[in-house]
């Protein structure tokens, strides 16, 4: 079996290497990929959309259908992980463990009994291990700055490398970092499952809703120059603003979905201890 696999892989590789003989040389300015559509994008983006970052303009304006369905694919992946893994109504264990934060004493609560309402106790699981103080502190200091950077990457996507996908992943990574450095319970408390679901759907909705608004205002789906009459700007600036709106939608959807997938995969759908 392995021999057949090796032979077929080498054959496929040899065919591809043979095909590269006809390829344009690397970084050739006259290669077919760079001669048909891309000169139009490079030369006309500024006057048509007023966005200096051509990648952002092509992503969210010229190819906005593609990006909308990419966002939908990410949302669908989140839903698929949820449906595959989430255990809907888990039976609560009869005994629950609570840890007194200040002294580190663990209290075992029998079934039916209740703890006096107090903020000093945190719910823990049997597999609980104490988080490292250094890692905890460093992460607590870093996470706000990571989130600020994520927002910057989304908001500054018109003028520098960045945009909704990258910023959304950075924002999602900050919450995942909280889950790794503390435990999953802490991260889920900050960002509940319901919030994840609603935000990832809301991001796709913002994107598709912007497109539908353009139809309602009398132009094609996702033709942002229709927004000029709503935003009180000229049509070119309206396209720039429309790109920002859908990038925010993409950012929200990607952030929530990344966290949602992580929560489900890392805890096997149980949302307890996690990694």
């Amino acid at each position: 079996m392995k021999i057949i696999a090796l032979i077929s892989v080498i054959l496929a590789g040899a065919l591809l290497v043979y095909a590269t003989v006809d390829f344009p040389a690397w970084a050739d300015p006259a290669s077919p990929a760079s001669t048909h559509l891309s000169p139009h994008f490079i030369e006309k983006t500024m006057e048509e959309t007023s966005v200096p970052n051509i990648v952002t303009a092509v992503l969210a304006d010229y190819r906005s259908y593609d990006t909308m369905y990419e966002t939908t694919v990410i949302f669908a992946a989140g839903v698929a992980c949820f449906l595959l893994l989430r255990i809907p109504r888990r039976k609560e264990p009869g005994e629950r463990l609570y840890r007194h934060v200040l002294t580190g004493v663990t209290v075992r609560v029998k079934e039916g009994a209740k703890l006096p309402p107090s903020d000093d106790f945190e719910r823990i699981d049997t597999l609980w291990t104490p988080p490292d103080l250094i890692i905890k502190t460093i992460c607590r200091l870093l996470i706000p700055f990571i989130q600020l950077f994520g927002l910057y990457v989304i908001a500054h996507g018109h003028h520098s490398p960045g945009g909704g996908f990258q910023g959304g992943v950075i924002l999602g990574a900050s919450i995942i970092m909280l889950a790794i450095s503390h435990d999953l319970r802490t991260a889920v408390q900050r960002m509940r499952e319901k919030v994840d679901v609603l935000l990832s759907a809301a991001g796709v909705f913002i994107y598709a809703g912007t497109g539908a608004l353009c139809v309602l205002l009398g132009l094609n789906f996702l033709d942002y120059s229709a927004l000029a009459s709503v935003l009180y700007v000229d049509p070119v600036t309206a396209r720039s603003h429309g790109i920002l709106i859908v990038e925010i939608g993409v950012g929200i959807a990607v952030m929530a979905t990344i966290i949602w997938i992580y929560n489900n995969v890392s805890s096997g759908g149980k949302y307890d201890e996690g990694l």
């Binding site: 892989v9 591809l16 490079i42 595959l84 893994l85 003028h159």
Partner: protein, 131 residues
């Protein structure tokens, strides 16, 4: 000899991606463990992403962000000065989608493990054929 060196210099990027793709494809076909297959899939995706990004490169061109765009008056933008933005757009979305599909693949692997208590392909197939 000169021709050969010139061809190597002009094409070696494609050969690197082909090698990466072969590693990924071999892992997907021949490896027995499902997680190793998923790792192979990721390597394959990386090869495709690198290939696309390299087709966007242009000699002597800079990143596709127009310089002095606002506030420096109007000036002509020449396509020769900026690399091709299109492959970057396609791969930007592909990377995030790759992460999402990786999540789905891992979720499926977790379900398979729950059901069969193993991730080795031959053991799973043996358990299926027993029934």
């Amino acid at each position: 000899m000169d021709d050969l060196i010139q061809m190597v210099v002009a094409k070696y990027n494609y050969w690197i991606y082909t090698t990466l793709m072969m590693i990924g494809l071999y892992a997907m076909i021949a490896k027995n463990n499902l997680v190793k297959k998923i790792v192979g899939m990721s390597i394959f995706q990386t090869a495709i992403i690198l290939f696309y990004v390299s087709t966007g490169a242009k000699k002597g061109a800079t990143i596709p962000i127009i310089e002095h765009a606002h506030g420096a008056g109007t000036h002509m933008v020449h396509a020769v000065d900026y690399i091709n933005p299109l492959p970057h757009v396609l791969m930007l979305t592909a990377i995030v989608v790759a992460v999402a599909t990786l999540g789905v693949a891992l979720a499926l692997a977790i379900r398979v493990y729950d059901r069969y208590k193993t991730l080795e392909e031959d053991e799973i197939l043996a358990q299926i054929s027993e029934k």
